[in-house]
Symmetry: C2
Subunit: 320 residues, 2 copies
């Protein structure tokens, strides 16, 4: 599909929490946190997700309004209305259609593909996708491993229609979901299951819970399969792919992409030690940082890939 | 876009709560409830949204699995993973991609258009869209008007690619969002705003709240405008439209479609007095019931239209 990312935006909260700061809260050492999660420090946002997302959105838009706003985050601001409304409100717009796409940590990959289809069908010409997450709001300090991972951040991209003679495009997309893994990564509260009003809803139900080793075991196998399937279907040589932008799930997850023997190690964009796992915002943050630093350049082939609660795996190959 | 709805499904919970049953809970008479909300009875589901949605989904699928499952509900089962995962689990599938589209009561219209674009871009061929909501779980009995409205139910449709010579298609789609109305319909809890763990999150934050008269005032004007714009852009005579399937917001909202003087009164599908406002499930329930009853027939022109928290208005015109 002929689409072009014509703008990237970021909000990186200024407040830093190092693993030494976090250590006493979870009863582990900074060394343990770093070895287990690969995270040296994470950002703590004092702004809520709508304000974070609006800052990243404005950064990406460069003063030219979009004709659709898609929220692609992991956790909403509130149950109703969906978060896209609050981004639009914060950015000072009125009358622009907006809705949310939700597939937890894969929301950005799903939304990028959905937006590409909406441009391909000529419904919209300029779509703003925003991912903003405050992972630190959902940390359960009684679960040291997952609470070591989470961080806050926001990123945005503007996706536009492009002319057939331009090289920019979304070349390939794939997603698979195995609900047998639905209990491996959860926030059980916040909906009809463990409703906040139910007397049997407890504190842990409202916080993030993950069986990291079980997720890693399934994810490593399924991600490898999806990469091989992508190369097979597109007929591309792994050497022709310029950048791998993975969901920043954990240090170990990023290391798995590096050590898989498929891609050169230095092609894998890695921000996890500095920002932690920022849920759905992690992937577009990694992408936007790499674009802003001048590493990802126009014409580069970029493979976005990751895993999400579900358990789901998805990837998108774009010509930036 | 050349798409065909090739299957509709329903789950109508068997347990009925009449307005006489509800009256003492909210300190109003059954007559007041009926006059204010237009709702005579609503269903109360003892099954959670995933089970409700899976029953409707299976009903629509007719034993032939989809290649994508989209959840298009107003309120999720839980924060993470998204509800599509739990539908798939309940239906006994593994490996089918799934995610959620969220625009509160408009989720079905948004998802139907998104799915059409995903079929148009040749990514998928057979998409299952499920809307399942337990509106009665979010009732605030201290807010008599909104708690009179809400009900439970689920509906599903299967959307497929169709051949160019077939008449079935999605002809027109439009959506507009005005965040100046974001506080008119809310569930403030369940996310990062009024987090269940925050000491200042109170009971009302976790329940549905609506300024009905204010929503009605804006909605009536904007819905009329969108209908006239739709007729203008498509060049269709209102008489050529066979059915209006509105979101079943309230008795007054349905009456506004009937009395607008644009369409014949008996063209407006009305299930609100029997089922109440079932959030995002209302519209596909009304559509599926009318198809199952043989009112909506192959080749009919159907205008789906409604309002959602945000405040948003959307419509979709299809050749069924």
């Amino acid at each position: 599909m002929k689409v072009k990312i014509n703008g990237v935006g970021l909000y990186l909260p200024p407040k830093i929490q190092t693993s030494a700061d976090l250590a006493p809260m979870i009863g582990r050492s900074a060394k343990w946190i770093h070895e287990k999660s690969g995270v040296k420090e994470r950002r703590i946002s004092e702004l809520d997700v709508d304000i974070m997302g609006a800052i990243a959105g404005k950064d990406a838009l460069n003063n030219k309004p979009p004709d659709l706003i898609i929220n692609a985050s992991g956790v909403p601001k509130q149950t109703i209305p969906d978060t896209s409304i609050f981004y639009q409100k914060e950015m000072g717009y009125e009358g622009i259609p907006s809705f949310s796409v939700h597939s937890t940590c894969l929301s950005f990959i799903t939304a990028l593909h959905t937006a590409s289809s909406l441009i391909h069908s000529k419904t919209y010409k300029r779509i703003l996708i925003i991912s903003a997450d405050r992972g630190t709001r959902g940390r359960n300090f009684k679960e040291p491993e997952s609470s070591s991972l989470l961080g806050d951040g926001a990123a945005a991209v503007v996706l536009e229609a492009t002319k057939p003679h331009n090289k920019n495009e979304l070349i390939y997309y794939n997603m698979k979901t195995w609900p047998s893994g639905s209990a491996l990564t959860e926030v059980r509260g916040g909906g009809t299951n463990k409703h906040p009003q139910d007397p049997d809803t407890n504190s842990a139900d409202n916080l993030f819970s993950m069986d990291g080793p079980a997720v890693y075991k399934i994810a490593r196998k399924q991600v490898s399969r999806m990469i091989l399937e992508t190369l097979n279907i597109t007929g591309l040589d792994p050497k022709s792919i310029d950048w791998i932008v993975p969901h920043q799930a954990s240090g170990k997850a990023i290391e798995a992409y590096r050590s898989a023997g498929i891609f050169d190690e230095d092609k894998v964009i890695d921000i996890v030690s500095e920002f932690g796992n920022c849920v759905a915002a992690s992937l577009p943050m990694a992408f936007s940082i790499a674009v802003k630093e001048g590493r990802i350049k126009r014409g580069d082939l970029v493979l976005m890939i990751g895993t999400g609660a579900g358990l789901s795996v998805a990837c998108s190959l774009i010509r930036y």
